[in-house]
């Protein structure tokens, strides 16, 4: 844990430093350039200000599919962070330069300085304090934005925060959030010191030298932390690009950002490693990132659900026959995406409409039709996904004639379980395999009108990867039908409820089946969700 924390903190700091440095390298010259050009300045500031107002998660989403700047990983996060850092740096540069005493500027010109000399010898030094204050603000904002970078696979402390949210684990959440907050405060204090040192130097105050020495020391300490953190996980650098380069025996396994997906990713990864295949793990990717990454060749394989593939990715209206959905997804994936769908793993992760166990027992509820009568006294809470998707809320409410007390509350899916247990809402749409169902004493109501389409778990793999690494097909075959719903729910509970590591849970389950042990202990070193 400590080791991972160090690594994530170092990644985080590196992201912030790199993004802030890039934004400064871009924003300061741009600010100097537009400071004397009033009309251009207005246009540039408006544009950069508009970019700033795009919510960060939305910005990540917009960047993802773009070539060059997008994609899974550090690049997208860096670009988004630079966009956010630009405004304060640009604005402070303009303000700083405009704030230079006009008589000083006039004197400089009248003495025969060239415009360039006026800029570099007079305006820039006199504006330096204000410019650094802008960089300071940008860096502090960057610490916050970087946490969201975890959603696009950029790593950093956000990984722990998202994981903590998902697993309903406050301690884990704080393990990520507290160092991030501390980092923001430290960076802020450090740059505040730098601002003071610059002002002192510019205006000739005596303490400048001591302050400068203290700043240099602390900067050296930060660089040491980053270096150490990078070395700590040098073995499993996740940035390498595998099979596509012809570097054969290497497979990139992805997963979405919830425990079940990470467990499945681990299971496949260990299965591959047991067969001597080198594996790169790229877990916990948000939204439809996995699918996009598979199409762009940044992933080779990841776990998916047939219902999701059919409605959300292929954009078909929902069907209720599991066999037909599986057949059509398999055919269309092969034809349209050149992707192969594995044999079903055995369990289904359907939508499960959940209520508190005590309510179900008190009201003798087992089916959704029975529950419809109580809906007018209930508050529902759903993930954003459920509210908008084809097979989501509108059709569900229509099918069962549901009328809730108020419009359903939209919240992060991982928060709905907690909200239900804590009586903030009375009904949620969860996953049928979620370990929290048992852990929080929740009851899934039966979909007696068969509204929800089936979500059979499968792996989706690039056909090219299958051709290049024969062991991949064998590993997928070994997992076919191996995980009934009850098993998956138990494994999920071991992670979400018992707070065990997915890698350990996967290893224990494989051992219990007498499977080959993973070839090396790479799992613990590279990715310990």
């Amino acid at each position: 844990m400590t080791r991972e924390l160090t690594r994530l903190a170092a990644e985080h700091l590196l992201l912030v430093v790199a993004a802030t440095a890039a934004a400064a390298a871009l924003g300061v010259p741009l600010g100097l350039f537009v400071a004397r050009r009033r009309r251009l300045q207005q246009a540039v500031m408006t544009l950069v200000g508009a970019l700033q107002t795009v919510p960060s998660l939305a910005l990540f989403g917009l960047l993802l599919p773009l070539p060059l700047v997008g994609g899974v990983g550090v690049r997208t996060a860096l670009v988004a962070m630079v966009v956010y850092a630009l405004l304060p740096i640009l604005r402070n540069t303009v303000v700083g330069v405009s704030g230079v005493d006009p008589s000083v500027r006039e004197a400089a010109t009248a003495m025969g300085m060239t415009p360039r000399q006026v800029l570099l010898q007079v305006e820039l030094p006199l504006a330096a304090g204000v410019i650094v204050a802008g960089i300071r603000l940008a860096a502090v904002i960057g610490v916050g934005v970087a946490t969201i970078g975890a959603a696009v696979g950029a790593g950093g402390l956000g990984t722990l925060i998202f994981r903590g949210l998902r697993m309903n684990d406050d301690r884990l959440l704080l393990t990520g959030a507290a160092p991030a907050a501390a980092m923001a405060l430290l960076i802020d204090a450090w740059l505040a010191g730098l601002t003071r040192a610059i002002d002192a130097r510019v205006l000739g105050r005596p303490r400048a030298r001591a302050l400068g020495a203290a700043l240099t020391l602390s900067a050296a300490a930060a660089v040491a932390l980053m270096t150490w953190g990078q070395l700590a996980h040098a073995g499993g650098a996740p940035s390498a690009r595998p099979t596509t380069t012809g570097d054969v025996k290497r497979v990139i396994v992805g997963s979405k950002d919830f425990s079940e997906q990470v467990i499945l990713g681990e299971l496949l990864a260990q299965e591959l490693e047991a067969r001597g295949v080198e594996v790169v793990r790229r877990f916990e990717l948000g939204g439809s990132l996995c699918h996009q990454a598979l199409l762009s060749g940044e992933l080779d394989v990841y776990p998916e659900y047939t219902g999701t593939a059919f409605t959300a990715l292929l954009h078909h209206p929902p069907l209720t026959d599991p066999a037909e959905v599986y057949r059509r997804v398999t055919d269309e994936y092969r034809a349209s995406f050149d992707l192969e769908v594995s044999a079903p793993l055995g369990f289904r992760n359907d939508f499960a409409i959940l209520v508190r166990g005590e309510d179900a027992r008190r009201l003798h509820l087992t089916t959704l039709s029975q529950a419809a009568a109580f809906a007018p006294t209930w508050q529902a809470g759903f993930g954003q996904d459920f509210m908008s998707r084809q097979d989501g809320y509108p059709g569900f409410a229509r099918t069962y004639g549901l009328q809730f007390r108020a419009p359903p509350r939209e919240m992060d899916l991982s928060l709905t379980y907690r909200a239900l247990a804590e009586r903030q809402v009375d009904l949620i749409a969860g996953d049928s395999t979620n370990g929290l169902i048992d852990a929080l004493d929740l009851v899934a109501l039966e979909d007696d009108r068969r509204y929800f389409p089936p979500y059979q778990a499968v792996f989706v793999a690039r056909r090219r990867a299958l051709a290049e690494v024969p062991a991949l097909a064998a590993a997928l075959a070994a997992l076919g039908g191996a995980l009934p719903t009850a098993t998956m729910r138990r494994l999920n509970h071991e992670v979400d409820g018992d707070k065990r590591l997915p890698a350990d849970v996967a290893r224990a389950w494989r051992a219990s089946r007498g499977a080959l042990p993973a070839g090396r202990d790479a799992a613990t070193r590279e990715m310990i969700p």
């Binding site: 000083v104 004197a107 009248a110 003495m111 025969g112 007079v122 000739g204």
Partner: protein, 262 residues
């Protein structure tokens, strides 16, 4: 061939200057000749165009009509950087660079001209001595550690650093208390006598104009009302000249623009 010494150092020929988009010109039909060794005091109320006139001389502004000649060459034909490095400039609030030491402020133009550091340092010491600021005490100070009078001395030293034949002074002592002002005016006269510079000295104080100027040029609303020796100025029958003269007798230092207009 004209005798170079008889050629005026600065000459304005029927100069008009109008800001872009402005209706009235700031200067209109101004002609003026500054001979070598001469100090012209440009006297006038605020907004009469005194400062604009100075800025036309060092090429910070270019005339809308007419010509400004420095050493016989129109400012439009000069490389502005070369022109400015050859002219000393003193601003009202000194305009010292707050992030430079006194020595670096004074040595600025020689440094820009590419002098060797040792030569610059020697020149800075010499100038600080000249303006009465012992280098050992003042060289490494920052402008904010100086009094107003000391700052103006540094400003004068900076203007003299590269030994330019021409000084432009824009109300250099206007912001100082009367005692300091008098001391600096006397010192300026001493330097003028010793160094023989030509100067355009902007002021709105008649006493100062008569003290420092070999000629007094009275400006009002962008036009030259009077171009006279101090003696002629004292006798001139021009209303504004009379107004300025009254100030000489009045106690304190009230400039005409501060008094109710006639």
């Amino acid at each position: 061939m004209p005798d170079p010494t008889s050629q005026p150092l600065v000459e304005l020929r029927d100069v008009m200057f109008r800001r872009e988009g402005a209706e009235r010109p700031v200067l209109d039909g101004v002609s003026l000749r500054l001979a070598r060794g001469e100090t012209i005091a440009l006297l006038g109320p605020s907004g009469c165009g005194k400062t604009t006139l100075l800025r036309l001389v060092n090429g910070l502004l270019l005339p809308s009509a007419g010509e400004v000649l420095v050493e016989g060459r129109a400012t439009t034909a000069w490389d502005p950087i070369t022109l400015r490095r050859g002219i000393g400039y003193v601003l009202q609030d000194a305009g010292l660079f707050p992030h430079f030491s006194v020595a670096r402020n004074v040595g600025l133009v020689p440094t820009l001209l590419g002098w060797a550091p040792a030569r610059v340092a020697a020149r800075v010491d010499e100038l600080l001595e000249l303006v009465g600021l012992p280098p050992r005490v003042f060289a490494e100070r920052r402008p904010r550690e100086l009094s107003g009078g000391e700052r103006q001395r540094v400003g004068v030293a900076r203007a003299l650093a590269a030994d330019p034949p021409l000084l432009l002074l824009d109300e250099p002592f206007g912001a100082l208390d009367p005692l300091t002002r008098l001391a600096l005016q006397r010192e300026f006269l001493r330097l003028q006598t010793a160094l023989g510079k030509s100067a355009l000295f902007v002021t709105h104080d008649a006493r100062e104009a008569l003290l420092v100027g070999t000629r007094v040029v009275l400006l009002d609303e962008g036009r030259v009302l009077l171009d006279a020796t101090p003696a002629e100025f004292l006798a001139a029958d021009v209303p504004l000249a009379r107004a300025f003269r009254e100030m000489l007798d009045a106690p304190g230092q009230v400039a005409p623009e501060d008094a109710p207009s006639p």
